[in-house]
Every structure is written in structure tokens, then in C-alpha cells.
Symmetry: C3
Subunit: 202 residues, 3 copies
């Protein structure tokens, strides 16, 4: 098991926990918790795979993703009382997750022979659409449309990865630097409450 694969499963785990906690806060039952956990953690990659035509979608060929959601369910059921003390850790893990999903989604799109612009778009889709689908299924306006510069951080990381890829061959360093860009921008933006309002000049 490579380090990147481990990180990917870990990102899936953190996203699944975020989904399951949303489900419990809405008083969903076990089935709702499982579905929201799966959708949150795998929805972005699934949409990317459908759009680029890579089917069966990735997680259908590797049971580990399902086991990871099962583990998240177990953890949420028995240990969620400790989570309030862990909010900071979760925020960090979640940020690592989107950073990684961005770069891996980009790479998968490039591997499918699509243009860099599409790879950047699909990187962002991989990172943020799980949360969008979670919000749609729980009847909320997607958080990402109004708060935090979540997607902008992914965009900056994706652009970094693209530029480094063009000018060097140091794959792992590119990955690490691009992820760091996502993480730093998100952490700063949340600490400073930076948002990006889009209000036309009327």
C-alpha cells in the first residue's frame, strides 16, 4: 500500500465522518447515515469518473473504500462524544483530504487524455462535489456556494500542480507543494474569515 493510497483512504475516512455527523444531526436513521457517508466521501470522485467516462467508477473496483466508510460509521457511533475536542484535528484532516483529492482528481483526468483546464476543473469537482451532493440530499443550499474559499484553495493547488508538472519531473515534490498550497490557503482563509462575495455593481 503506497503512501498516496493510504492518504486517499484517509481522506475518504474523514469525509465519511463529516457526512455521517451531518446525517446524525438531521436525525437520519442508520441507512441515511450510511448513504450520506458514502455520498460525501465518494460523490466528488464518482461525478468526475462519470464525466470523464471512466466506468465502472473507481470505488466499485476496490472494496477498501467501503470498509473505510464502515469504520467511519463505527467510530461515529461509539466515539462521537469525543469529537468536540477534536474539531481542530478534523478541520486539518478534512483540509488534507481536499488537497489530496484535488491533485489525484487532476492526475486521473490528465491520464484520461483530457486537457489541463479540464483536469483542473475535475480536480476541484473531486474535492468539493461530495459535499455539494451531501447538502442537496439533506435539503440545504450547498455550503460551498456561500461560505469559505474552499474551492479557491483547490484551484490554487491545482494551478500549482499544473505549473510544477510542466517545468519539472519531481512528481512527489509537486504533489507535496500543491497540497501545501491548498492547506495554507484554506487555513489562512478560515482563520481570517476571508470570503469572496460576488455582488454585481448595481
Amino acid at each position: 500500500m503506497t503512501f498516496i493510497y493510504f492518504l486517499e483512504l484517509f481522506g475518504t475516512f474523514v469525509f465519511a465522518i463529516s457526512g455521517i455527523l451531518t446525517a446524525t444531526s438531521k436525525k437520519f436513521d442508520l441507512v441515511g447515515a450510511i448513504i450520506i457517508g458514502i455520498v460525501t466521501s465518494m460523490g466528488g470522485g464518482t461525478l468526475r469518473d462519470l464525466l470523464i467516462g471512466s466506468t465502472p467508477v473507481g470505488w466499485m473496483l476496490d472494496l477498501n473504500y467501503i470498509y473505510v466508510v464502515g469504520a467511519a460509521l463505527f467510530i461515529c457511533f461509539f466515539f462521537s462524544k469525543y469529537f468536540k475536542h477534536l474539531r481542530k484535528s478534523f478541520f486539518l484532516f478534512d483540509t488534507i483530504g481536499i488537497a489530496l483529492f484535488t491533485v489525484l482528481g487532476m492526475q486521473k483526468t490528465l491520464d484520461a487524455g483530457l486537457s489541463p483546464t479540464m483536469a483542473i476543473m475535475m480536480g476541484i469537482v473531486s474535492a468539493v462535489f461530495g459535499g455539494v451532493i451531501r447538502d442537496v440530499l439533506t435539503n440545504r443550499i450547498p455550503l460551498i456556494f456561500r461560505k469559505e474559499i474552499y474551492a479557491i484553495a483547490c484551484l490554487a493547488g491545482a494551478l500549482t500542480y499544473y505549473l510544477m508538472m510542466r517545468f519539472s519531473q519531481l512528481d512527489n515534490i509537486n504533489l507535496a507543494v500543491s497540497m501545501l498550497v491548498v492547506i495554507i490557503i484554506r487555513v489562512i482563509s478560515v482563520k481570517k474569515s476571508i470570503t469572496l462575495p460576488f455582488q454585481p455593481k448595481i
Copy 2:
């Protein structure tokens, strides 16, 4: 026309009626009724086909599914006043529908070369996601996330089918027994109002 194909069209018909009745209760127009009828009856199978990469999706190659939705529309328009006396019948037909969709969805996923775990998941998706998409389009939190052990009945039926398939070759008996498992569990759970709350120990 085989018996199973007839049952599948019948399941589609019942699901379409359930969708059209939801649309009329929300004062949708004719277009809304048609779209919700199609989505409710074919949404689950469509999502399954997209995920496993079986395109064009099944119903696009067989006009009978569309005719069945047309028949459901006709019936709902002229005869819905009799439906209140038929609630029990509808519940039974609907349950037969999900039982059948579960097993057929499983079989189609296995035929696509995917693992039994994925087949079980896709069986459940086939049976329940039409209703989930219907609820999302009508701006409700999907019923399945909070009430009834709908999906659990499908899971039990799918597991039964998988186990019987491993140990015997009696395809039709497997089908019948698995469907019976779904139907019995759902009927009992509704009669006894059994639910499966998922509330972490806080």
C-alpha cells in the same frame, strides 16, 4: 415476454404511479408529473447503469418502459379517486417492485463483472434511489433517510440471493425466496413500526 420481464414492467408501473401521485400532491403540471413519474420509476436503475458503466442506460433501449409510464399517467388522471381504497394493494405492489428491482439490479451488476459486495450495493441502489431522486426533485429530505427499514429489507433480500446463488443453481427459486425475504421484512417492519435510529452515544 418472460414472467420476470413482466414483473419488472409492473414494478416500473407501480413506482411511476407513486411518483405521479407525489407530483399531483405538490400541484405540479403535466410536465412535472411525467418527469417525476419517469425519475421515480427509472432513476434507481439509471444511477446503477451509470455507475457500472452500462450505457446507454437500460430503458433507452426498450420503449416499453416509457409506455408503462404513459399508462400510469392515464390511470392516475382518470382513476386516482379509487386509489384510497387501494392503498394496501399499492403498498404490496410497491414492495414487490423493490424486491424485484433489488435482485435484478444485483444480477445486472454481477453480469458486468463486479464483485458481490458491489452487486448488493447496486441492488439496493436500483430499488431505492428512484425514490431518493423523486424526493430531491420535490425538495424534500429523502424519506428513506428517516423512516421505514426499506433499504434494510433490500439488503436482507440481496444477501439471501447472494448466499443461495453460491450454494445452488436453482435460479428461479433463489429469485422467489430472496424477493419473499424483502417482502416479509418490509411488511412486518411497517406493521410493527420498526425503525432503525442511528443516534450516537453522546
Copy 3:
């Protein structure tokens, strides 16, 4: 660049503006505006491509669609104050857009080897589902389910195109006449406030 291709980009542009204006009216940020702009203008064609199995979906292979959404974003940000005087123009452009998307969606489905009935359905999906997804993402019941005979106009245009295609070879004339049918029906229905209620006889 052919005239039809130009019209298609123009339809995308008008749909993107409609999506971005919805996003700003909901106080979405820049990311929300971009996503809703893309989804509104390309969601219908994307769903059609997924269902008929034409992947990567069309806009992933042609960056012009993305540039057009970028232009729409620019226009909305700096010039939306002039839009109230332009409401009639927008309605006309939007109607031309759905007329064109209907016929192009139909043609693409026929090219994929599917039946005329499916082509007509996919023509309507191409024209109207961008708006449906926009409404779902902004947590509203899709407008098309309750108001205007938007989809019926598309259906009439699609039937016209199919009939003319069967009996003649004059492709551009077929296209023009079919689009005119969509435009005339929609304009008349909006002027006369014609709706199509679907209320079963209870």
C-alpha cells in the same frame, strides 16, 4: 466556426447568465456563481451525454464552452444593472437557446443510434435539465414542474423536427422550422399565460 456552433455557444452564454443571476439573487459567492453558471448552461447536455453513453461529455473536449461561461460571469459582474431593460431580449435569447438545444440534443441522440422516441426525450432533457439542476442546487422546486409550458414547446419542436426529417432532406430548413415552432409556442404561452395543470379528477 459554423452558424449552428455559434448559436450553440450563444445559447450556452444566455443560459449561463440566467444561472449566474440566480446565484447572485441568492447571495452566493464567486464559486457559487461559477458553478451555477456552468450547471445551468451545460447540465442538460451533460445529463443527455451520460445517459446515451457519450463520454467524456461534450463540453470537456471543447474549451470554448468554459470561455463562454467566463464571459457571462464578466458581463454579469459589470453590466447587470442594465439587465432590467433587457429582460425581453433575454427571454428571446433564452427561448432561442432551448429551441436550439432541443434540436441539437435530438440529433446527437439519433447519431448515437438510439430510437426517435429517445431522441425526442433527450432533446427535451438537453433543453430543460440545466434549469432543473440549477433549481435543485439552489434548493427550489424546479420551475418547470409548475409553470410555463417550456417543455411542451420543446416537445412540439422535437416532433416537428422528427417529422420533417422523415419526409425531407433539407436539414437547415428542418432546423429553422423546428426552432420556430418552439419559439412561437413559448412566446404565445407566456403572453397568454397558458399553463397545463395536471389535476386528476377526484
